[in-house]
């Protein structure tokens, strides 16, 4: 089991993005949680929504399992509310999406200026995208090591409380 980074504590006025997760296994001091997800559109309970259920299949939820340390009282089946800082979500999104896009566009504009050919620009854009993804991986490692993206335990979930992107 690798060392897990400690989550950075939130300040008193800091907003947290909360979600409900269920304990699926306990391995010593580490509890593994699986996000509990209702309809994939938060708050959308329309039966006709095409996205309903897409985010709830077992394999997708299993892929999003995450560890939680420091709470030995947790048992399999417990439902808890976990949270990450709001700015952590922004940093994560910028790292995963904005960095590769900027690299892709930079390479594309450069190739168009130099070569002026659509095929070359396409190839350069793909190369830029791959380079950007490599940089994003490096950057994301830094965020994880600093504990910025580590979810923290907030409280036990109340009866009937469901996951919402609030």
């Amino acid at each position: 089991m690798p060392d897990l980074p400690e989550p950075i504590p939130a300040g008193p006025d800091e907003s947290l993005v909360e979600g409900v997760a269920r304990v699926v296994s306990v391995d010593g001091a580490v509890a593994w949680l699986e996000p509990e997800q209702g309809p994939s559109c938060a708050g959308c309970t329309s039966q006709g929504c095409g996205a309903r259920g897409l985010g709830t299949v077992a394999s997708r939820l299993a892929a999003r399992r995450f560890p939680l340390t420091g709470h030995p009282d947790l048992r399999v089946g417990d439902r808890v509310v976990v949270g990450v800082r709001g700015d952590a979500l922004l940093k994560a999104a910028l790292t995963a999406y904005a960095l590769p896009l900027v690299a892709m566009l930079g390479a594309g504009v450069l190739a168009q200026t130099l070569a002026g050919n659509d095929g070359v620009t396409l190839a350069a854009s793909v190369a830029g995208l791959l380079l950007g993804l490599g940089v994003a991986r490096f950057w994301a490692g830094g965020l994880t090591a600093r504990g910025i993206t580590t979810p923290r335990f907030l409280r036990r979930a109340g009866f009937g409380q469901s996951c919402r992107l609030t």
């Binding site: 996205a51 979500l89 999104a93």
Partner: protein
């Protein structure tokens, strides 16, 4: 260069995907309860729209047109978009599992977001070159993200406002969205000569 700037301003503001073309309204109402989540959804959609538009342009130029398969355009684009979402999901999971735990929730929503297909079809209508297509897709999706964040900010304020019970919840949301659309109509004069 000036043409590219006009193209991007037009795509992002004048012909905004949500408020002028009325695409992507499900996520517009569903994921705008908080600014943080709206930013996450907006950036994820921006990434998918831009990458899938790049791929769709290549498929259109090198496969559908040369082999006279244009009648398969919509089906092919849907397939490419689904593949792009899957690629994004796999990539984010590979880049960083913690990021995937945080951002993975938005990706299934994008598969069924009609804005992604709408932008791809608009690109084909526009008969643009590769770079213009990518910039148009990027600007369209940035316009989508801008409206998502603006609307989320308004809804955060509305949550604290004393709204009459009859209008509380989605009704006041729709009213605010229509006012936002009216405000965006003010951009219609940009670029007029």
């Amino acid at each position: 260069m000036q043409d590219y700037i006009y193209l991007m301003l037009s795509a992002a503001l004048v012909n905004n995907v949500i408020l002028a073309r009325f695409l992507g309204l499900c996520s517009f109402m569903g994921v705008t309860t908080r600014v943080d989540t709206a930013v996450g959804m907006g950036l994820a959609t921006t990434f998918v729209i831009t990458v899938s538009s790049m791929l769709n342009w290549a498929v259109e130029a090198y496969l559908l047109k040369p082999y006279d398969l244009l009648y398969l355009r919509t089906v092919t684009f849907i397939l490419v978009i689904a593949a792009a979402v899957q690629f994004t999901e796999m990539t984010v999971r590979k880049i960083s599992p913690p990021l995937f735990q945080m951002l993975g929730i938005y990706l299934p929503l994008i598969t069924t977001n009609c804005a992604v297909l709408g932008v791809a079809l608009l690109l084909v209508e526009g008969k643009m070159g590769f770079l213009a297509s990518v910039l148009f897709a990027l600007a369209s999706s940035l316009g989508y993200s801008l409206v998502m964040v603006l609307f989320a900010g308004l809804r955060e304020r509305l949550a604290l406002a004393d709204v009459p019970p009859l209008f509380a919840g989605p009704p006041i949301g729709f009213i605010v969205a229509s006012l936002l659309a009216l405000a965006f109509m003010g951009f219609a004069g940009i670029g007029a000569h």
